[in-house]
C-alpha cells in the first residue's frame, strides 16, 4: 500500500477512535450529571444525602414526617418496598410537570410495591393542603418540618428525587426536571 493510502487509513482510524471516545465520554458525563454534586454550587461538601457527590449504594436514613393531616409517616414503614422520595414545593413549576407522571407511575407499579413519597419543602403546610385540594395525587405526601436536614442535607433546588431499592439503598439521585422515560427507567431499577 502506498504511503499516502496508509496515511489516509490511519487518519480514519484515529478519527474513529476519537469519535468513539467522545461518545463514551458523553455517556459517562450524562450519568454523572444525573448524580450531579450540588456541593460544587453551594460550597458545602459534607456527607448529607442531598449534598454528597455519589450517593449510589448509601442506605437511606430513616425519617418520620407528618402528612398534611398531621398523621406521622416513616420511611421505615415501607421497608422491603421500592421507594421514590420526591422533594417538591407548590411554588415549583418543574415539580408540577412531574406530578402527573408520578401519579401514572404509582398506578402502574403499585402492584409491585412501589411507594412514591412527595416531600414538600413549602414553608406552610396549609399551602400544601390547598394545593392538594385543587390537584389531588394518588401517592403519599408529607411536609418537611426541617428534620430531614441533619441526615439528608439541603437540596440545591426542586425537584430533587431519590430512588431507593427494596434493600433500602439509594440507587440514584436526580436533580431537576427529567423526562418521564428517564424517571420510569429509574423506577424500573428499584422494582
Amino acid at each position: 500500500m502506498p504511503n499516502t493510502q496508509k496515511s489516509a487509513v490511519w487518519n480514519w482510524i484515529i478519527i474513529g477512535v476519537v469519535l468513539i471516545g467522545g461518545l463514551v465520554y458523553l455517556a459517562f458525563a450524562r450519568r454523572s450529571a444525573m448524580n450531579a454534586q450540588p456541593a460544587m454550587v453551594n460550597g458545602s461538601p459534607g456527607n448529607a444525602i442531598l449534598e454528597a457527590g455519589n450517593v449510589a449504594g448509601v442506605t437511606a436514613p430513616n425519617w418520620t414526617l407528618k402528612d398534611v393531616n398531621g398523621k406521622p409517616v416513616s420511611l421505615s414503614q415501607f421497608a422491603g418496598k421500592p421507594v421514590v422520595m420526591d422533594f417538591w414545593a407548590t411554588w415549583c413549576g418543574p415539580c408540577q410537570i412531574e406530578m402527573p407522571w408520578w401519579k401514572e407511575l404509582q398506578d402502574k407499579y403499585r402492584a409491585q410495591g412501589l411507594v412514591i413519597v412527595g416531600i414538600s419543602e413549602d414553608s406552610s403546610v396549609n399551602d400544601v393542603k390547598n394545593f392538594l385540594a385543587k390537584s389531588p395525587v394518588n401517592y403519599q405526601i408529607v411536609w418537611d418540618d426541617q428534620s430531614l436536614q441533619s441526615s439528608y442535607g439541603t437540596p440545591f433546588g426542586m425537584p430533587t428525587t431519590l430512588f431507593i431499592n427494596r434493600q433500602g439503598k439509594i440507587t440514584q439521585r436526580v436533580i431537576g426536571l427529567e423526562g418521564k422515560p428517564e424517571l420510569e427507567k429509574a423506577v424500573a431499577g428499584i422494582l
Partner: protein, 140 residues
C-alpha cells in the same frame, strides 16, 4: 422546611442598594437599586400570572420620616419554559429598580428592608430568598 437552610445558599439574584442617597427635607427622591440575576436563572415578576408563584418584592420599613412612596418595577418579560405550558412573567439579567422615597426632617436615616424573590431555571426552582437590604439617606 429545608427552605430556611436553602435560603442560606448563595443566591442567584443580587440586589445592590445605592451607596448613599442625598435628599432635601420634606420632598421626594429616587433611589436606584441594581438587581443582577445569574445567567440561566430568572426570578418571578412582581405580578406573576399564576397564583402559586411567589412574586418578587422589595420592602423598606419607614424610619424617621423617610418612607417608600413607590417601587417602580420594570415590565416583566413573558418567557416560555420547558415546564410551563404558557409563558410566565419573569425578570432576567440586570436591571435598575427605582424606588421613590418621601423624606421628613433633616438627618441621617438608615432604612432596613427585604428583597424577596424566588428563582428558577429551565429545570429546577430554588426556594424563596429573603435578602436583607439597608439604605442610608442623608436628608438635608
Amino acid at each position: 422546611m429545608v427552605a430556611a437552610a436553602l435560603a442560606q445558599l448563595p443566591g442567584v439574584a443580587h440586589l445592590q442598594a445605592p451607596a448613599g442617597v442625598v435628599a432635601k427635607a420634606h420632598s421626594t427622591v429616587v433611589a436606584d437599586f441594581q438587581i443582577h440575576i445569574d445567567s440561566g436563572f430568572h426570578i418571578q415578576s412582581n405580578h406573576p400570572k399564576l397564583d402559586y408563584i411567589i412574586p418578587s418584592s422589595l420592602t423598606l420599613t419607614a424610619a424617621q420620616g423617610v418612607s417608600v412612596a413607590k417601587v417602580s418595577w420594570p415590565a416583566a418579560k413573558d418567557r416560555k419554559f420547558s415546564f410551563s405550558p404558557d409563558p410566565l412573567a419573569v425578570f432576567e439579567g440586570s436591571f435598575t429598580l427605582p424606588v421613590t422615597l418621601k423624606t421628613g426632617a433633616p438627618g441621617t436615616v438608615m432604612l432596613h428592608g427585604v428583597f424577596r424573590y424566588q428563582a428558577c431555571n429551565d429545570q429546577l426552582c430554588r426556594p424563596p430568598v429573603n435578602q436583607p437590604v439597608t439604605l442610608t439617606v442623608q436628608v438635608q
